[in-house]
Amino acid sequence: MFRFLHWRSLFRRDRFESEMADEFAFHLQARIDDLMRTGLSPQEAERRARLEFGGKERYRAECRESHRVHWLDELGRNIRYALRSLRRTPAFSLAAILSLALGIGINTFIFSVFDSLVLKPLPIKDPARVTFIETTTGNTHSFPDYREFRDRAKAFSGIAGYRISVMNFEHGGEPNRMWCYLATGNYFDVLGIRPAAGRFFHQQDDLHPGASPYAVLSYTTWQTRFAGSPQAIGATVRINGLSYTVLGVAPKEFHGTEMFYWPEVWLPMMMQPQVEVGNAWLEERAEWNTMMLGRLKPGITSVQATGDLNRIADDLARQYPLIDKDMHMRLAELGFMGSSLREPVEAFAGGVLLLASLVLLTACSNLAGLMLARVTDRQQELAIRVSIGAGRLRIVSQLLTESLVLAFLGGIAGCALSVTACKLFSGWHAPVDFPVQIAVNPDWRLLAFAAAITLVTGLLFGLGPALRSSRTDLNPSLKGNAGISLLKTKHRFAVRDLLLVGQVAVCFVLVFACILSLQGLQRAITQPLGFDPQNVTTAAVELGSAGYSEAQGKLFQQRLAESLRSLPGVTSVAYANSLPLSVDQSTTSVESTEEPGKTGRRRAQANYYEVSPGLLPTLRVPLLRGRDFNEHDNAHAPLVAVVNESFARKIFNTNDPIGKTFRYGPQSPPIQVIGLVRDGKYVSLTEAPDAAFFGCILQTYNPTTTLVVRSLTSAAALAPQIAKRIRALDPKLPVYGAGNLESMLGFAMFPMRAAALALSAFGALALLLTVTGIYGLVDYSVVRRTREFGIRIAVGARAFELLRLMLGRLLVLVSVGLAVGVILAFAAGAALSAVIYTTSPTNPILLVGVLLALLVSALLASWKPVLRGLRVNPVSALRCE
């Protein structure tokens, strides 16, 4: 409507002007007539009339102004007024903006992470139609199965297979270890993306094993290795010693379909035997190494697609009952290698977002309390404004503008904070040999979210106080002070009371969650790992991709171990294909030879490691029974294994498995158990005890070689020395993962560390806000009741009675808040458990401890104002009003 008026006045400006001129002229003429009637001469009358009217041009301008003014001008006026009134209380304004900036900044940042991990679609064609295909028990398939699904599925316009892998990449200079995707020929076509340069490989480029030496570079690799040169297309690079032709470059924003993994290059799946040397599985039905993604045909629902896949799975189960029995297919969203990883990531991010919003809520209620106090203090001013004709709506909108201006300033600062945080986060690289990277790019979605929560925040903490103010009762406000009537004061505090209760409750939840997770972290750090990482240095080499044959590799491994033993300070050296709690973990399914019959994918899963003799003592894995491997356990001796307690229980249902045998499957040879070790942690620090077994690497051979060197002291310089010895044996062999084992465990610790850090920040912020809130409340009530205290002291009240007056109410409020907090903490337990790592969520001592701590903080916060209340001088207090 205002817009309409504005529009009209624009288009009818001429008419408006001429009408105004007519109106003024009429006024002057009427005045002149009247003055002449009193006997003045026409000239004198006109002079007087003009004088009385005042500056015609000035009023004309003011009229234009009055008429033209629409809501924007009103808003402008309100904002100017708000800024003026905020400038008058700089401490309050600054504190408010700061707490809002933190609250909004944290929320926006966490939203951005959540958004880029979970919400934002992948930069592929029609991403909603592309789906990850998994089974109910795992996210990978055998390659022969993949071919069946690809060729027989009717619901998909295409199904691509892919896998994360690693290789030696050489393009001038030394070879580097590089991470890639092995992808079937139809991969890029199914995803529907266009190359940034050159071309992608297609189905016809990926037909026969070993016959498609083509590479597609990631945009980053193109930029860093080839300086973005167009000559990179068609260039020859060496991968694991073989020549490959660079076909093209992937788009800048495309990093494959996993949100956390940035591959450096894509290679055709048919090169798998050449990439993962010594481990060809393209024709293996019982090796589940291929991930699948498919594009649904138009009009096909996910239910139809699942049915289609299961029809094929049932056929496969009938054809290969030992391997594929009980295989059930399902669809999952792309991004996290299926739902097994996506669900915890979503739960974690969601949980953190929930906690962050609680922090913002605390900031809101804190500010609402302060605004309410401001409004109460300004009642006199507001009453005057109302009495001189400012409408109530006007006052409400003015106070609301004040809140929104605060929120806006806080929002801008918060936005800046979150953009900085996003930049830092995106630039962060996990300290592991794996391109873990999550790109959180601040974009319009971040801005929109920040704007939305800023607005909501401003309304949340501003609307209540603003509406309250509109109920200002003129009489007592103008008469002197509202503080005179105690009854009224009580009523006025009701809203603030509620705010305080809420704030204390939320604060309790946050502090409790924070302490729980810190305790969990502490426990995780001190929990037995099943091995001792102290004074252990590791380094790894990949012999297969460096072109070593099995015989050469075995020899190299032994010579290298021998060479390292002579390093000063080294007490023992051993090697393995992988270590517990490192990134690279393998599981396999096994069965007891005494009790076969469990088939298909339902068989027992166990973590497995191929280790050299001496590895278990070097890592100080406690041997409970039997013996460690020795050099006689070689390729000519019967297969042996060392198992852990869980393995013994799960597979053999015993505590003494020595001498018992197990096997991978009916066709594979039996493996005899020769030793029993204590359970440890294998995949994550938070896992439940899980079955694991160690095989002897001398009997099998694995080209992936992780060296484990124990030294007398934690020798920081050992890693470079190890690398030097490796180069002495083979200068072209890339060394990776070199360093102190303890610090490498940082990878396993990372999720918990991040959660503990976030929670600590939230807890501290909430505590700070609550303490200032309580301080504000007590301080305010003491100031308002100064006169009452003066009277009471004058008539002989004791300190104790005054204390009761000042603190009684506060204690009740804080206690109620804490009680609500306890209930909330239990109610939110499920959501919190995704974030918090703890074994006993309801630790009573901790609960009481946090309760007491908050109570003490409340009392400390009120200490200063209470002291002032006790020291009120009755004479000056009574005089002050």
Binding site: L5, E19, M20, D22, E23, F24, F26, H27, Q29, A30, R31, D33, E52, F53, G54, G55, K56, R58, Y59, E62, C63, E65, S66, H67, V69, R84, R385, V386, S387, I388, G389, A390, G391, L474, N475, L478, K479, G480, E881
Partner: protein
Amino acid sequence: MHRKDNKSAELLQGTLDLLVLKAVSLGKMHGYGILLRIEQISGGSLDIEQGALYPALYRLERQGMLATEWGTSENNRKAKYYILTSRGRVQLKDEERSWSRLVEAIGTALKARPNEV
């Protein structure tokens, strides 16, 4: 200094608006007539330039308190007439009420004796 000016301007504006509404409430009238009415009902104590009336009229019109129409004056001249709208009537009642409360409050405050405080 600047702030003080604003405050007095706001006071004046509020009062003038109230008086204009009151004057128009007595019947449809043109600007000059409204001025005379205000002088009449306020006992001639309103000390403003006559032109200052118009911004107030335009503002009240924009706020929907007043409506306008062109008509012919007593001595047959074309004049713009102002009429109180229902919204203006409500506003006037509101302001009358708060004004008398203010007057009453100030009266009470001024009558207060030392022993009452």
